[in-house]
Symmetry: C3
Amino acid sequence: MNAITLLDYAGVTVFAATGALAASRKQLDIIGYLFLASVTGIGGGTFRDLILGVPVFWVGNRVYVLICALVAVLVFFTAYRIESRYKLLLWLDAVGLAAFSVMGAAKGLAITGSPVVAIVTGVLTATFGGILRDLLAGEPSVLLKPEIYVSAALAGAAVFTLGALVGLPPYAADLAGFVAAFAVRGGALRFGWAFPSYKSRPGRKPEDIP
Amino acid sequence: MNAITLLDYAGVTVFAATGALAASRKQLDIIGYLFLASVTGIGGGTFRDLILGVPVFWVGNRVYVLICALVAVLVFFTAYRIESRYKLLLWLDAVGLAAFSVMGAAKGLAITGSPVVAIVTGVLTATFGGILRDLLAGEPSVLLKPEIYVSAALAGAAVFTLGALVGLPPYAADLAGFVAAFAVRGGALRFGWAFPSYKSRPGRKPEDIP
Amino acid sequence: MNAITLLDYAGVTVFAATGALAASRKQLDIIGYLFLASVTGIGGGTFRDLILGVPVFWVGNRVYVLICALVAVLVFFTAYRIESRYKLLLWLDAVGLAAFSVMGAAKGLAITGSPVVAIVTGVLTATFGGILRDLLAGEPSVLLKPEIYVSAALAGAAVFTLGALVGLPPYAADLAGFVAAFAVRGGALRFGWAFPSYKSRPGRKPEDIP
């Protein structure tokens, strides 16, 4: 099993776990756990494969769906023991984000050869599953928070792509991308890192605009 | 016209009607009815075909879009007579859910030969149109309710797939899947069936977590 | 550069600008601008290409992603000067809607030869990016407002398709479609045009239904 396959399984597993934790927060039944775990675990990669025009990864390999199902059942029976499911969700999401930013960029680069496309598919793969989870579970979207999130995926995809372009051995480029993304997102979670912003005025409600 | 084609047209028709009823609840104009009816009627099948990598079903056959348009116009002129549009919406949605759980599983099984994929495409086809409708119309998502919903689609897809694997004649497997899904969802609507749940604590709001 | 290519770049540019303006209203950081500008700028066309089963347009041509990035940076440094970002967003959205309704219909017609499919892909291409933007940015969805929106896309796609079918030269059909869509949407923005509606009762909340 090479590093990319490992990142792939790891990403699906931890994203599936975040979906199941969101299901637990919403007090869904076991099928709700299965559904959210699957959507979150395989959503980002599905979108990536559709855009790249290649067969969707889990259609040809049942292992992915079975991982999601297994994780959902496991979380269903253990989530009640966890003190802060939301914190665990955020940290697992950070691991998945880092794994998928590299995985998505690697697949995009392998198929199109274009660094620009590689970076875009890296970011999409890493963020799409979590966005779907938050949308479906009615969680506050991580996109609208001041903390750094998409940037971490961008860092991971860019570092990996750069590493691959300058000829690093695959393991090294994968690792560098993963570490870059996880360090950025982890720093944001731990220390509240955020970009300096322009402090633009907040948008008014449409009905308040004369 | 075989049983699968019949299920297909029936599913598109009733899902289009639920989209139009949602448009009526939101007091949209006629084009809003057309839009929501189309998205709901053909959304699930579109997603299924993209994932399976086959041509999207309504691109090659204009009948589907015309059904959605016809249903939208019909509901536009009659919805004001209906006493409870939401109840009608839920029951039509149950019919569509049952039809599409079988239809989606049948197409997934025919194309990939994998029972696991068949069950996933059955569930996705059956639930995706309704999820899109609720998201776009701002209705409370049926996913987050305690009542059984995704489970009904799972029951229909699983019963059909099992029936097909043990060699039931197509009509029988189709019918068994349809009846299974409709019975489960109908029971949930009529009697409030829900899975026993762990009664996990509800999730706290992110800002309340220390 | 022919008229369709021009409409394509123009549509991507103005939709990217609306995404960046939404990011400004939500006080996101620069990466949030990049993300929303890209999703809005290339979202509708991505969906169109997936449905038509052709390679996604921006995967083979990096110019589109670079346009989105450039627009995002430009808006990031200038949006604070704009008095009403929401009004500007709405008018740019109208330009993009008109450009993409023609562009989407032209591509659908060229690939399938079906006028019905051309009109549907025109409407989808024109509206999907904006719907995604509103969903992700938590803006009130333009779909649920009484003003005419989807209808404008429908007008543009239908006028273009009709023009192409009766044999207008490409430039003329493109222009007629663009003008039709922009006139309808512009009229709705300026004069509050709305369809006469049935004044159906608003939907009750599910919990209020006996």
